[in-house]
């Protein structure tokens, strides 16, 4: 809280709002993204437009709670329709999302023109509902968001196990007696809560980013769902705070800055995440290619040079003193013998591996069989392969 003390009051409210929204949508978005329905949020956000219009037509004034209820009802109906269309079996999730999005948004546009031609000037700006206005956020809005988001997160926390099982294996969840349909509706309903809170604050498009970015980043950093879920919340909160602070510093609109911060973090995670990142995988692949070429030179140092990679492998062997102008050096011969021994051990494992007596389950590593299986197993293998040759 300390750095926030230096901010003016209105900025503090915006930053807190972005924090609450990022945390909530990060966690709730995980369920949508991992079920490959990332754009449900987009469709729900656009589907709130007819709800807002109908609420305005019924109430006749632009009072905020009424519009919020209208938006929530329309969003929920749209979300349930998507689930229903998908359940008929023929239509795939993305098409169901697209059909509901365009149908509801068309309805919203028709209602907007109807309102514009009949109602008084009070309707102006109704369509701005979809674009959001974080700068106009009030402290009371943040409190409402925090309460709704808190309730949603509590529900997720309480039903964590059931929701996880339904998410990853719904037929198993059904077979152990979980109410799968109710849980799916609950997941969808929670998403609608997040979207309805978010749309008015940050707009429909930003909502999509807030739901998807945290999960993509968290998934890059963790393999287990129990870590991904809280991590997504943390990432969402960090993105929200960083983006809104940057926006207030640079006097830019909050929503787009948050999206761009989130996008940059996501791209960084896709490229750099340890183990899973694109660059990480590329370097691992390049290492493996280099080793294969180096081993090929060690096995037959006299072979003619065929490629650039071959040349580079020879240069690297020369640098480490394994190769000179006359062929392999003594150290090079030792390395070649070691390589031959490793390969012989691996073929012995492939041939006799089933007969080796291991104290526990171990994963053999072709590049380092001794290290992965232990000295005892290697001794057994040597014995077995020697016996195999004799017999």
């Amino acid at each position: 809280m300390f750095p926030l003390a230096a901010l003016p009051y209105t900025d503090t409210v915006v930053v807190l709002g972005a924090l609450v929204l990022g945390l909530t949508s990060g966690v709730l978005g995980t369920f949508a993204v991992l079920r490959q329905r990332s754009l449900v949020g987009d469709a729900v956000a656009h589907s709130t437009l007819p709800g807002v219009c109908v609420a305005f037509l019924v109430a006749g004034v632009k009072d905020v709670p009424g519009l919020l209820v209208g938006a929530a009802v329309a969003g929920l109906v749209a979300a349930l329709l998507m689930v229903g269309i998908e359940r008929t079996g023929r239509i795939k999730p993305d098409t169901a999302i697209g059909v509901v999005l365009s149908g509801f948004f068309s309805l919203g546009v028709v209602l907007l023109t109807h309102i514009a031609s009949t109602a008084d000037a009070d309707q102006a700006g109704l369509e701005n509902y979809l674009f959001g206005q974080a700068a106009g956020l009030l402290a009371s809005d943040v409190v409402v968001m925090a309460v709704l988001g808190g309730v949603a997160l509590l529900v997720v926390g309480a039903l964590r196990r059931a929701l996880t099982t339904t998410l990853f294996d719904s037929s198993y969840a059904g077979s152990i007696g979980l109410p799968v349909r109710a849980l799916e509706v609950l997941m969808t309903g929670l998403l609608v809560v997040a979207v309805v809170i978010g749309v008015r604050v940050v707009g429909a498009i930003l909502m999509v980013a807030m739901l998807v970015v945290p999960t993509v980043v968290a998934r890059q950093l963790a393999d287990r769902f129990t870590y991904v879920l809280p991590l997504a919340g943390v990432v969402g909160a960090v993105v929200g705070i960083t983006g809104s602070l940057l926006a207030t510093r640079a006097a830019l609109p909050t929503g787009p800055v948050i999206v761009l911060v989130g996008f940059s973090i996501a791209v960084a995670a896709v490229l750099l995440a340890p183990g899973r990142g694109v660059l990480w995988r590329a370097s691992r692949l390049a290492n493996r290619r280099r080793r294969v070429l180096r081993d090929a030179v060690l096995v037959s140092p006299g072979a003619p040079m065929r490629s650039v990679g071959d040349r580079m492998a020879r240069a690297s062997l020369r640098r480490s003193g394994l190769l000179d102008d006359h062929g392999l050096t003594p150290a090079g011969h030792r390395a070649a013998d070691e390589l031959a021994d490793r390969r012989a051990l691996w073929s012995a494992w492939l041939e006799h591996g089933a007969l080796v007596d291991l104290p526990d389950a171990r994963e053999p590593d072709p590049t380092d069989l001794r290290g992965s299986l232990g000295d005892d197993a290697v001794a057994q293998l040597r014995l077995l392969s020697a016996g195999g040759r004799r017999g």
């Binding site: 993204v33 490959q36 329905r37 990332s38 754009l39 949020g41 987009d42 269309i85 008929t88 079996g89 023929r90 239509i91 795939k92 999730p93 993305d94 098409t95 999302i97 697209g98 059909v99 999005l101 365009s102 149908g103 948004f105 068309s106 309805l107 919203g108 546009v109 028709v110 907007l112 023109t113 109807h114 031609s117 674009f131 498009i205 930003l206 999509v208 980013a209 739901l211 998807v212 970015v213 999960t215 993509v216 998934r219 890059q220 830019l252 609109p253 929503g255 787009p256 800055v257 999206v259 761009l260 996008f263 996501a266 896709v270 899973r276 694109v278």
Partner: protein, 300 residues
């Protein structure tokens, strides 16, 4: 006067029909490849292109704007394709990452540099089909033709060429990309070609009829057709047909109730989808239920 209104109506219907044709040719492939929402992504991702053209050349003339928008649309689809090809996320997550970022870039551009000029979101996201007849060009012979109609006719021809010339290849890689790769059809190249065609179609249609109608015409008629048939060639023909029904019926509804033309066309398409969902001979909800009941009744 009556003739002029009638003429305008025909121009609007023909332009919407051309959009329906261009979209109907590509929509089925998007639906079958499960990337229907790409159209929505493209519709938002063009904004920075339009803003950039304004910032650099200070113009809102149609040709540079379309070129700028198309550049960003292609950037958007290729970015999505690259993220998807990394294997780290599903295509829906890739779509949801890329287009909000591009849209935000456009919004920042508008608020930061182009504030105060008439470059609002409405003009890009809700392009108005009712104004199509007023923007005519002379094709020679003194006859004015709606500019949007000419552009869209070119796009329709291009899409038709793409789909007919590469029909076999597109079909094979849509249903079985692995098979397509084994017989050297280059699924990735075909997929990019299709995505670029979608981007170009969407951009040239936005300018005339607005984003929401383009998104609707790409997804809803194809989804309706998918409920009605199991054959790809029939599906494409049906998608184009449903689009035309939406264009004609939507226009008359909009005139009757004095409402948004694009919105009404979208609603008619959605209504066609609901009808197909309920009544399709093979996949309809009601027909399946009736068949099951008949099956139960005829069983001993």
């Amino acid at each position: 006067m009556g003739d002029a209104v009638l003429g305008d109506s025909i121009v609007i219907i023909v332009v919407a029909g051309l959009v329906a044709t261009a979209c109907g040719l590509l929509g089925p492939f998007l639906v079958l490849r499960r990337i229907a929402l790409l159209s929505d992504a493209v519709s938002h991702a063009v904004l920075p292109g339009i803003v950039a053209v304004w910032l650099v050349w200070q113009t809102r003339a149609p040709l540079p704007v379309v070129v700028g928008a198309a550049a960003f649309a292609v950037l958007c689809v290729l970015g999505i394709d690259a993220l998807r090809a990394s294997g780290l996320m599903a295509s829906d997550a890739a779509i949801a990452l890329v287009f909000p970022a591009l849209f935000s870039l456009g919004v920042l551009g508008v608020t930061r540099f182009a504030d105060g000029i008439h470059l609002d979101l409405d003009s890009t996201i809700y392009g108005e089909i009712a104004f199509v007849p007023f923007d005519a060009i002379d094709l020679g012979g003194g006859v004015g033709v709606a500019r949007a109609g000419v552009t869209l006719a070119v796009v329709v021809v291009l899409n038709l060429l793409l789909v007919t010339l590469l029909w076999k290849e597109l079909k094979a890689t849509t249903f079985d990309p692995a098979f397509g790769a084994t017989v050297r059809l280059r699924p990735q190249l075909l997929s990019r070609l299709l995505l670029v065609a979608v981007a170009v179609t969407a951009v040239s249609a936005f300018e005339a009829v607005g984003a929401i109608l383009v998104v609707t015409m790409l997804i809803v008629p194809a989804a309706t057709a998918y409920l009605l048939t199991d054959r790809l060639v029939v599906m494409v023909a049906l998608a184009v047909g449903v689009g035309w029904v939406g264009a004609i019926a939507g226009h008359s509804l909009a005139i009757a109730y004095d409402s948004s033309i694009a919105g009404a066309m979208g609603l008619v398409c959605a209504a066609c989808f609901v009808l197909a969902l309920l009544l399709s001979p093979k996949h309809g909800l009601l027909t399946r239920r009736l068949r099951r009941r008949a099956g139960v009744a005829s069983a001993p």
